[in-house]
Each structure stands twice: as C-alpha cells, then as structure tokens.
Symmetry: C2
Subunit: 432 residues, 2 copies
C-alpha cells in the first residue's frame, strides 16, 4: 500500500461528521490514520450548513456513484435506516469495496446476505460501531473472547431506556413523564418506539449473539418486551427487595439451544449491571474459562460512535498492510523515550489525617499555613478527641504536590501546634 | 498454512496448565484453535503430578532446546520471573519464533529490547495476558482505542491489594490482619511485597502507558506507593467523606509530558472504579472523542489468564493466515441457522404485582396455586392496602416461563380472589 486508502463516506449527520472530524485531525492518534483519506462524501441535501469543510467536488448527493467509484477502497455507511443503506452496502461489496457500517438495523436483518456477499468478493465488512457505540465489543467477542465457550451475554445496550429507567428510579416519576423529559433533552426520539419497545436492543443482541455463538440468529425469533409497562411503583418495590430494574438484552446457551430476548429485568443490586446508570451501556460476557468480563462506556453519541467507525477503518488499513511485514498495529513505540513528569509536579487532591494537642488556634493555624502555600481546602474537619488530642482530617482541592508537601513540612513549626503526628497522607482523585 | 501451528510451552504451572486445558478441548471455541498444537512443554521438574497429560517426549526440562527447535512456530513463555525468562524469549525470537507471554515483569523492564529484536526478526510478540488477566485490554488499547487521543488510564490492576482494601472496608480490620487472611486464602504470596508495595501494578501501568501513549515509559521513573500505610481509620473517614480507598495505577497526559504513578487513592463513591471490589480488576480509559470506557473482570487466575494467552495464539494464527484470504477472524457464522429456544421454555425468576380485594385466604390461595404449577416462591409480601384492596408482590425462584404463566392464568379463578388485577409481571435475573 503505497498510496493512502481512499474512503467514500455515506452520510454526514451525527456520526458521519464526528468520523470526518477524527480523520481530519490525525495528530496524537494512531499513525495509520494518516494513510486514510476521505475522497467522497454522500448526503441528501447539498445546501445544508456542515461542521466540517471539504474540497470542491467531495460532497455529492449521488451515492450510487460513490459505491461504484473504482478509485475508492472503502465505503463507510452512516446514513442509517434499511433502504437505501442495504442496497448501497451490497453494491459497494460487489464493486470490491470494503465496508464499515454503524447500521445495526441493516446488519441484524441482512447480515447473513451481506457477509456472504463479502466473503465471495473477498472484502471486509466491519461493524464495531453497530453495538455499544464507542465500547470495543464486536472485536473482543470475535477475537480475545472467542477462545472461550461463551455461556451468556447480558447487555444494557440501549442508552435511551437506561436513561429513562435511571430517572424513574432516582425521581420516583412514571414512565410517560420521564419519556417527555428525555425527548426534550434529545435523549429520545419524537417516535420513541424503536428504543422503548426494545427493538433497537433486539437488533443489537441479534448481532452479538450471532458473533458469540457462531450461528446466525433470526431477529424475528428474538423475544422482545419494552419498558412501557414498568411503573414507578414497581421500581420502588424492586428497590425494597434489593433489585434495580434494567432493560436487559440477553443471549444464553441453554441445553436445548440458544435463547435470545430483551425485557425489563430485576437485577440484584450487587450485580455489576445494577450500577450502570444514565445513557451508558455495558455488556457482560460470561464464558469458560474466563468467567465474567464487562465492557462499559458511552453507548451512543457522535464522537464515541465515530471512534468505533474509525477503529474499523484503521483495522482494514492494518490488515491490508499485514502481508508486507509485521502487523503495523503491533509496532514498537514511535516516540523516543522521554522523562516522565516528576511526582512533585503532580496536580491532584490530598487527604491528610493530623493528630495534635487540642488547643485553640489549631484549625486557624492550619488554614493559614495551607493558604500560604496555595493549598485550597475543600474541607477541614475535627473528627475525634482522645485524652486531650484532636484528630483533624483535611481534604484539599486540586493542588501541586510540591506545594502541599511544603505546607505539611511547615505544620510542626506553627505556634498552636504541639506533639503533632501526620499518620496518613493519601491522594484523592483530582477534580476535572 | 496447511499444517497446524506448533507451539512450545515454557511452564506448566497455574497459567500453563490452564492454557493447555483450553488447547486440548477446542470444541465450542473458535475453530482456529484446532490448528494450534502443543508440541513441546518445558518445566523445572519432570516427576511432578500434572493435571494434563501429554504424549511421551513432549515434556522436557531442556528449555533451550525448545526455543531453538526449528519445528516450532510459537513459544509461549509462562515460567515468570526475570531470568531465564528474558533470555529464553530473546533466543526464541532470534530463532524466528513468535512469542506469547504473560510476564509483566520482563515486558515492563525489557519490552523495548524484546520488541526491537522482534521487529528485526519479523515475528510477533503478544502480551494480552500480562495486564488484567483475562480482561481484553492490550489489544483494545492498540487497536480500537488508538484512534483516540488518550488522556488517561486509571486502573485497579492488582487483585491482591484490591481484595485487601475491600476486606478492610467491609470488616473494619487493619492492613496486617487482612494480609494474613489473604495469605491463608492464597490471594497473597508469602512475600507480599510485589503486590502490597505496588510494584506489580507499576509493571503493568508501565506496559499500558507505553502502548497507549506510544512512548517507551521507564519503569524506574514510575512513582510507586503501596497500601501498607492505609489504616482502617482512614478508610472510615474516607467513607464518611464519600470516598472509597483504592490502589490506583495512573498514567496521564499532562501539559509538560506524561505522568505515571501508583498510589492509594480516595475515589468518589459515584466514580465507576469505586464499585470494583475483591480480586477483580478494572481499567478506565479516557480519550478524545470517545470519553470514558471501562474494562472489568478477573485480573488473575489460571483460566482467565489462559484465555488471554490463547487469544494471542489465535491472533497469531489469524495473522499468519490473513494473506491467503479474508481474515479468518471475521468469517461468517459456521453453524447453520437454527430455531431459537422459545420464550415459554425460558427458565428464569419472576416478579409479579397483584392487586385484589383484601380478604382472608388470599395469600394461602396464591401459594397453593403457584405450588400446583411447580412455581417455587422466594417471597410473597402483602405490601400495601388501599380502600379494601391488598397489593401483593411475589418473587419466585427459577421457574419455567410456561409454568409461571399457567399459574397466573389460574389466579383469577381461585376461591378467595376477587376483582383481581396483575399490573406488572417482570423477570428477575435467574439464580445460578
Ligand atoms: N447517533 C448515534 O449516537 C449513533 C450511535 C450508534 C450508531 N448509530 C448509527 O449510525 C448511523 C448514522 O446515524 P446518525 O445519528 O449519524 O444519523 P443522522 O444524524 O440522521 O445522519 C444521517 C446522514 O445520512 C444522510 N442521508 C440519510 N438518508 C440519505 C439518503 N437517502 N441519501 C443520501 N444521504 C442520506 C443525511 O444527509 P443530510 O445531512 O443531507 O440530511 C445525513 O447526513 C445509523 O445507522 C445509526 O443507527 C448512531
Ligand atoms: N497465576 C496468575 O493468576 C497469573 C495472572 C497473570 C499473569 N501471570 C503470569 O504468568 C506467568 C506464570 O505464572 P504462574 O502463576 O502460572 O506460575 P507458576 O504456577 O509458578 O508456574 C511456573 C511454571 O514454570 C516452570 N518453571 C519455572 N522456572 C523454571 C525454570 N527455570 N526452568 C523450567 N521451568 C521453570 C515451573 O516448572 P515446575 O512445574 O516443574 O515447577 C512451572 O511449571 C508469570 O509471568 C505470571 O506473572 C500469572
């Protein structure tokens, strides 16, 4: 591969724009990205304002011309919906183009047809972005985890419904109220059915089950219930009994075969999926001998989903290069060895526990001393007394390690401080 | 690749034995595993009892002969420690063998030397098992996530210390007590220093930082503090202030460069890492544009670690095959389309909320009816009363969906039941 790989992007909406954004700013990312070039972009209307700019002639409404263009190596389908997405993907394949898509609706229904066509044409079809947004789950399932016998996949894979259920739980409100709120916030569509009736999750679990168990799962056979029937009362009762209610997508190997389903589920509070809140997604995979592994992160959003799209592009670039030499994904570090930033320059928060004789002025003295060294305190609490001693716990805001250490060193010399001990100094996760 | 790939296994301890276990039972795992064959196994003593059996001549104490054997394609180093592991790896590479290793101590110190040698020899060195046990983290960092600008990696990557801190928090006991307990349970070594002083975590974060930021990190520059100084009192104060104490390994991009460190850290309770308990590991990666993703699972143990070792073997097999055709990791499902198991045959637990007129015999009637249909109840609670009505919440043990539905259908016809409504029927995550 001497020249850059030329890609044709179908769709410049939420995900398409973010995908272009990554490819157009390759600095500090994987070096292979510099070898991928956006040659054509297909959209519905040319005269829309766009957040990214392209050279003249790149933007077009003729998507057929893109998927048949002999100059292109890869087609990235990000228009969504069933048609023309399916036909464009198939036509791209028949024109020897590799395909990357985030379209779970098309893959869950026509995946078999598409993969068969791709195998015949000898091209790749990569779909990391179709499930779990930015979370790497498709590739781990196909690669790292596939040496296991997979027993089950349990996923919170629809952010909208998880947002709604989380809100219902924290606010005690009913489904319809929270749905309206989610629609106003842009977390739910005007027609919410695909999300709240579980169809989107069904698409996604069909794809995951097909990969994990190596047999093509039929979407129509997936049993699917949404969250409309879940009431605030049920969430409260579940809570009292020790459960959270989550919309789970489940694929399980049973003695008699495979079972795949989507339904609201009471999850014990100590289960790893019980703590997954808001629009986040999580996928828990159980297998032998690995046990349980979980993948957690943003299940949607332009940037996160684009991260998955571009990782697929990069993998195609890597696979096309692999015959030349050692796989470029496994290269040794590109940058020379540099000094690390020393710990004194660390900016973090601190927790310190201080014990000294309890007398007036102690807190004031400490406060002044920290202030002098630019250590801003979040809290200073005198928590405990033992035979004339005071125990004081201090938590700081972000501060430079060096400054904090200087303040600590000065404390024993303060007027009001006697018989001091500082048994604990710990760091606190820093503020953003 | 017409023949199977021949591997030489160095070490048949916890991880080596589990690795052999996976390779010797390839059914229901990835089909590529059938093309990997254990040709030689190197150990220290021949006359130990082993959990796996090999043909005569496979087991040997001559490890030099293995790494120089012209018939072998891949060497898997699972003996641990610095020497002879490092020399054996380098010799294997110089004899054109691909290498898979779980040895974080060797890679964190000699990774640069080893990768350089591998690049010259044109062989792969894969290290998925060296960090996070079975959790796929090395490959996602090199591939899916590497299109992002990585800002930070925060990891709980030492199971022993996380087990100790979790126990200290739940039992209020002090470090030394819990350490003794952990040693008795086999979760901590007789010489616990590598774990409790943070050195093992420092090895691992050195490896992760090197991959994520593309520059070779020097282990000696990693600032490292262990958990010996953390007391039960600090854990309690932290708790009151809204924090958990965790041993975090942190690699962060700062304006002035990279900072890499290991130290006990107060983590806000609502942070995703705060809930990671016991021997589990979790790695939180933050980047642009992806945001936060987290990988969670068993950070050690023979089976889990072997899953990562074998996934590396499979990836080498796939990369060696890739020039022939389309990457075999991306193949279409191997099994024909089959019927899914219908939802009536699902075995799960149920939650049902029942409202009816409050009169004697209601609970008894319900109990008898469920029993008749083989529905065993975990709890049946009459929670609420409204103007003459009773609200009853039922949670079952595992039951066949069909049986539960039949019981529900019969309830309205029971003697004591009048004006019944069943506003909610939800599934509960099933018992093991
Ligand atoms: N948004 C997310 O968070 C997310 C997450 C995971 C997966 N996905 C998937 O990613 C895909 C794209 O989603 P999105 O949110 O980016 O969609 P979007 O914002 O609605 O953008 C769709 C883009 O496709 C173009 N388009 C649509 N139909 C077209 C047609 N018939 N001919 C030409 N162009 C057409 C539109 O052109 P105009 O700009 O001219 O209107 C627009 O640029 C979908 O498959 C979705 O399921 C999205
Ligand atoms: N155990 C885990 O959970 C875990 C998790 C992640 C990574 N790892 C890494 O995996 C590697 C192996 O760990 P392990 O727990 O499996 O170790 P282990 O149980 O102690 O087994 C070590 C094996 O190597 C053999 N061996 C050691 N030194 C040797 C020498 N000089 N010559 C020949 N054979 C030698 C031993 O032979 P004999 O059987 O004859 O004594 C034994 O079979 C280490 O790098 C470790 O850090 C382990």
């Amino acid at each position: 591969m001497v020249e850059a790989l030329k890609i044709g992007l179908l769709g410049l909406g939420t995900v398409g724009t973010a995908t272009a954004g990554i490819l157009l700013s390759p600095e500090s990312r994987h070096p292979l990205l510099k070898e991928i070039e956006i040659a054509k972009v297909g959209v519905k209307t040319l005269d829309k304002r766009r957040a990214v700019e392209f050279a003249d002639g790149v933007l077009t409404t003729d998507l057929e011309a893109i998927v048949t263009d002999p100059d292109l190596d890869i087609v990235v389908e990000l228009i969504g919906g069933l048609e023309p997405a399916r036909s464009l993907i198939l036509k791209a394949i028949s024109h020897q183009k590799h395909v990357v898509t985030a379209n779970k609706a098309v893959i869950s229904r026509y995946g078999e047809e598409i993969y068969r066509a791709a195998a015949e044409a000898g091209v790749y079809v990569l779909i990391e972005a179709a499930v779990g947004g930015g979370i790497p789950i498709i590739r781990p399932l196909q690669q790292s985890l596939s040496v296991n016998r997979i027993d089950s996949i349990l996923g919170i894979i629809n952010g909208t419904t998880n947002f709604i259920l989380t809100k219902m739980a924290t606010e005690g409100s009913d489904f319809s109220e929270v749905l309206t709120e989610a629609q106003e916030l842009g977390y739910a569509e005007a027609d919410p059915s695909a999300d709240v009736d579980g169809y989107d999750a069904a698409d996604k679990i069909t794809i995951l089950a097909t990969l994990a168990f190596g047999e093509q799962v039929s979407l129509e056979q997936v049993s699917c219930e949404g969250i409309r029937q879940v009431s605030a009362v049920d969430i409260q009762y579940a809570e009292r009994l020790g459960f959270e209610i989550k919309l789970l997508a489940i694929a399980q190997r049973e003695q008699s075969g495979l079972q795949v389903r989507v339904h609201p589920t009471l999850v014990p509070k100590e289960h790893p999926l019980a703590n997954i809140d808001g629009v986040n997604n999580a996928i828990l995979v159980e297998g032998d001998p690995i046990g349980q592994v979980m993948f957690y992160g943003p299940g949607a959003g332009g940037g996160a989903t684009a991260s998955a799209v571009v990782s697929d592009l990069m993998n195609i670039a890597a696979m096309l290069k692999v015959s030349q030499a050692v796989n470029p994904l496994l290269k040794i570090p590109q940058h020379p060895r540099r000094e690390l930033v020393p710990i004194q320059e660390l900016v973090t928060r601190f927790y310190a526990r201080i014990i000294c004789i309890d007398r007036p002025g102690v807190i004031g003295n400490l406060g002044t001393c920290f202030g002098k060294h630019k250590v801003s305190l979040e809290s200073i609490v005198q928590i405990d007394f033992n035979n004339g001693f005071a125990e004081i716990v201090v938590v700081t805001h972000n501060v430079k390690e060096e400054n904090f250490r200087q303040a600590l060193a000065e404390i024993p010399h303060l007027d009001a401080i006697e018989q001091i001990q500082i048994p604990s100094v710990l760091r606190v996760l820093r503020e953003k």
